[in-house]
Symmetry: D2
Subunit: 139 residues, 4 copies
């Protein structure tokens, strides 16, 4: 399995309610775009939020970073690519947001999640095997 | 007990992230201001979200109306008053948002909630007595 | 022109970040769904937010009402229909949100907007002709 | 001037609409808390959003990182401290979110903003002197 298999790309356009007085997308709303791409990616592996819950693990985000390269305006069409890049001890997903027409890079980001056993409420220092099975990877 | 006893007023200022490209608060964000006032009111009667849950009832909003009289700008200081106006078959709360300085009326709204028994998942056609006890009213 | 010509329907699924602790969509987020359908409708008539601005008018929402019939859960597929139902003195849009599979009615809503002349900042008591031209209606 | 002079702390409680199905604050809403603290800090130096605009500069966020140490629940009282830690070529603000009662560290974050000349739309590689004047610092 190559890394490209662990990627997924969605397209979206910012909503009017995502714009700030500068008429660009307010920086905090990008976190929603990351989540939409992450959920679409994890859904493909049948390990989105409802399946996580069924598997007995919560996967809170413990680290998130966004680098804003260019602003995003109303009506602009975006491609948001999410790629799993770590899965052994934590689930790291990298994101790239580009303009769907020009291909211009607009934002780079990552999120890091760790598994929390929902019964003991304890954090797992190694990802539970269910993640590897779903992603089809070896630890 | 008079109706004024069933009222509560909070003060707040819109956040930068509540502004839209017209540099006024986006109309959907008022719903958050109503909720802040409603929660503060219900908290005073020890019947806010956690206590609702403990009492075995969820109280979903089934009807909501907002009338926007004047726009709200960044830095403006607001008073949001919430008043319980019905409690027999449903919980109706009326809201008045005013400019804290001038007293100008900015928005009028109401929300209507009904009790849902969390075990049976059935809607109650009469409010459960716990509401009346907490509010100190007779049905 | 029939009323059905002035309608538009979009499909969407609630995002994880739209859910509340009851695991249903928080009532305030529906306002975003209405806006997505309204913008898609107005875009079809080339009179969405950027064209409104170019035409010299802002169209603030002055009245909004939502009736919640059934809750919406994560993963549910929704159809949101927006229909222009008044255009003479004010722009009224009616909304119907249904489950895309079962067709069950989930929410009914309307929004009312009035034109504000962006130069004089005055409200128009009759809609400006640009609206009628774009919608292809007679006042 | 010491660094502590360039800090400001606010207190807040998460709203019900900030909670996710895990009954904790959804990770994206922390960005709003950072902004509330940043605006309060910059307001103290009379260089909040409206004054930035008047000075001819926009200050978009170009980099943001949040490290989530512990989850935040409804009703929890938070202290959010924002501190200016760089001002020469870019404006860096560091944040610490703690539980107001226990003092427990909940989140650490930073944001980096750069000045953009609103007339030329060009990014400034050195912060404009107006920032230093307002903050009372030497470059």
């Amino acid at each position: 399995m190559t890394t490209s298999d662990l990627s997924h790309e969605i397209e979206l356009s910012p909503a009017f309610h995502d714009l700030d007085p500068m008429e660009i997308v307010w920086h905090g709303h990008y976190v929603k775009y990351l989540e939409l791409a992450r959920c679409a990616l994890l859904q493909r592996f049948e390990y989105d939020y409802p399946q996580m819950r069924e598997s007995g693990y919560a996967w809170p985000i413990v680290d998130m970073r966004l680098k804003y390269v260019r602003p995003v305006a109303f009506g602009q069409r975006l491609k948001v690519r999410a790629s799993v890049t770590e899965w052994e001890n934590r689930l790291r997903i990298d994101y790239l947001i580009r303009d769907a027409c020009s291909g211009d890079k607009l934002n780079r980001a990552y999120t890091i999640q760790v598994a929390v056993d929902m019964r003991s409420r304890e954090m797992c220092f190694v990802c539970p095997p269910v993640l590897w099975q779903r992603l089809g990877v070896a630890p």
